[in-house]
């Protein structure tokens, strides 16, 4: 083990872990139980878990086919499309929120039509939260699944085809099981990113308790008045997300 790697690795670990230790050390442990049972905290937590899960489902439905397209279909401009898919990764989420408003907002390109035709407006609704989280989180899923698809052995699919399986059957019975670990990893990353989403959510969906106020928004507003409250809310988010990730990892990702 070369020290040239070990030392920076240890520093890197400290750098990531120390801020968490700071949160734990500063947490008001004596008043923790009563703060946890405040109705606002639980409402925000429930909304966060619900919207992050819905966003992950939404990303799976659209993101897996998109990853397949990028990995398996040769078409002109594929590199450009791949670059476009990663744009939400580098876009400041607040700008993402404004961009969503310009398209799905009441005056937006598509939102205006939705409002005029169906009387549906997305901003300031729970659906809006799901949309904002999906926009920011989907690239994580697409990149992970595309990588898995590229690494997967084509010959299994060819064998399935020679044995008479149709394209759809091959996709669902051969391709998807082949990339299952990558798919699971992508879905978990996507869920975690959606759970922590702040900028696009507050910009596109606003902040209203029970409807659009997710945990990160509640933390930010708690910070305005009460540092300890914010720390407690952050710890709850941390414990829930780490708990779910560890549980999923044991069950689904042992081979990953």
């Amino acid at each position: 083990m070369p020290a040239a790697l070990l030392i920076p690795a240890g520093l890197g670990l400290l750098f990531l872990v120390l801020p968490l230790a700071g949160l734990v050390l500063r947490a008001p442990w004596t008043t923790l139980p009563q703060r946890l049972t405040e109705p606002g905290a639980l409402t925000a937590l429930r909304l966060s878990v619900q919207t992050a899960t819905l966003a992950t489902v939404f990303c799976l439905l659209l993101g897996v086919p998109l990853a397949w397209l990028l990995a398996r279909v040769e078409f002109p401009g594929r590199r450009l499309v791949r670059a476009l898919v990663t744009v939400p990764l580098v876009l400041p989420p607040v700008v993402g929120g404004v961009a969503l408003l310009l398209v799905f907002g009441r005056r937006g390109l598509f939102g205006g039509w939705l409002d005029a035709t169906f009387g549906v407006t997305l901003p300031f609704t729970t659906a809006g939260v799901v949309l904002a989280e999906s926009f920011v989180a989907m690239p994580f899923l697409v990149i992970a699944v595309e990588g898995a698809l590229r690494a997967a052995d084509h010959r299994y699919e060819e064998a399935a085809a020679t044995l008479g399986a149709g394209r759809w059957t091959t996709f669902t019975h051969v391709t998807l099981p082949l990339v299952a670990p990558g798919l699971a990893a992508g879905a978990v990353l996507c869920w975690a990113r959606a759970l922590g989403e702040f900028g696009a959510t507050i910009t596109f969906a606003g902040n209203y308790p029970g409807r659009t106020q997710t945990m990160p928004l509640a933390v930010y507003l708690a910070l305005e008045t009460d540092l300890e409250s914010a720390i407690v809310l952050s710890l709850v988010l941390l414990v829930v997300s780490v708990g779910i990730l560890v549980a999923l990892r044991d069950r689904w990702m042992t081979n990953a």
Partner: protein, 263 residues
């Protein structure tokens, strides 16, 4: 470990140290008062977001009045700023949008002297130009089909909005409780809401996109803006000079121009 490995480690450490010193080396001298008692150096001012336009101007005027000084502004919500100061941020002056956030700093013993009120602000109803929903009073905001953005209760503009709505006896359900006054204003500018309760100064600064509708109850929810020099100010002379300047006639004229009322 081989000699080669050790050299690499040393190189990495040296690079890290160089980065660290480069970060510090960029800081200007902390300044203070020179031999003639003149103010010099950088004055770091933590100011409420609603002071963005006026303090940018006042900072430039202060630099002109005190050659050799540089004013650095940190503009954010008053409560966030108060937290940063109490956590040891190197600030010289704190200008808050509400006495409550100032009290957070004074009660922690971080103020140098007693804060003084240098401006007052009150709320207006910001609506798009032409006022398409015909909003003329707070009660109009409860009409069906009128979407309203308020500031969250935790920030000063939200607390003021709550006071004004209570004074008017209006029970209003907004579509969103924004993190700061600029957020509420942005929702009007983007056309996502029909109205928002914002400070008169913010509506005036956004006059290209919105109109401010005055309403009677806003007089019941006037926000005092206190300012103070800070105990651990890196530049104490600069801090006191800046506070004095904000209370002087030229700075008060800038504030009045932005829509603030005199204390």
């Amino acid at each position: 470990m081989s000699g080669r490995g050790r050299r690499t480690t040393l190189a990495a450490v040296a690079a890290f140290a160089a980065l660290a010193t480069a970060g510090c080396g960029g800081d200007p001298p902390s300044g203070g008062a020179d031999a003639d008692g003149r103010v010099t150096g950088t004055v770091t001012v933590f100011a409420a977001a609603s002071l963005t336009e006026s303090f940018t101007r006042i900072g430039k005027d202060f630099e002109a009045a005190h050659p050799g000084t540089t004013v650095t502004l940190n503009l954010a919500g008053s409560s966030a700023l108060a937290n940063q100061i109490n956590q040891g941020a190197p600030a010289d002056v704190f200008a808050s949008a509400a006495p409550k956030n100032m009290a957070t700093v004074t009660e922690a013993g971080n103020a140098d002297g007693t804060p003084s009120v240098f401006a007052r602000n009150q709320l207006v109803i910001a609506v798009p130009h032409g006022n398409p929903k015909g909003v003329t009073a707070l009660a109009d905001l409860t009409r069906p089909g009128v979407k309203v953005a308020l500031c969250a209760d935790q920030v000063p503009c939200g607390a003021a909005a709550r006071t004004a709505l209570d004074a008017a006896g209006v029970a209003l359900t907004p579509v969103t409780l924004e993190q700061d006054v600029k957020g509420a204003l942005a929702k009007v500018r983007l056309g996502e809401v029909d109205a928002a309760l914002v400070y008169r100064t913010d509506a005036r600064a956004a006059s290209a996109d919105v109109t401010g509708v005055e309403f009677g109850e806003s007089a019941r929810a006037v926000n005092d803006y206190p300012i103070v020099a800070l105990r651990d100010a890196p530049n104490p002379a600069g801090a006191r000079a800046f506070v004095a300047y904000v209370r002087s006639a030229p700075a008060q004229a800038v504030l009045a121009d932005a829509g603030f009322q005199a204390p």
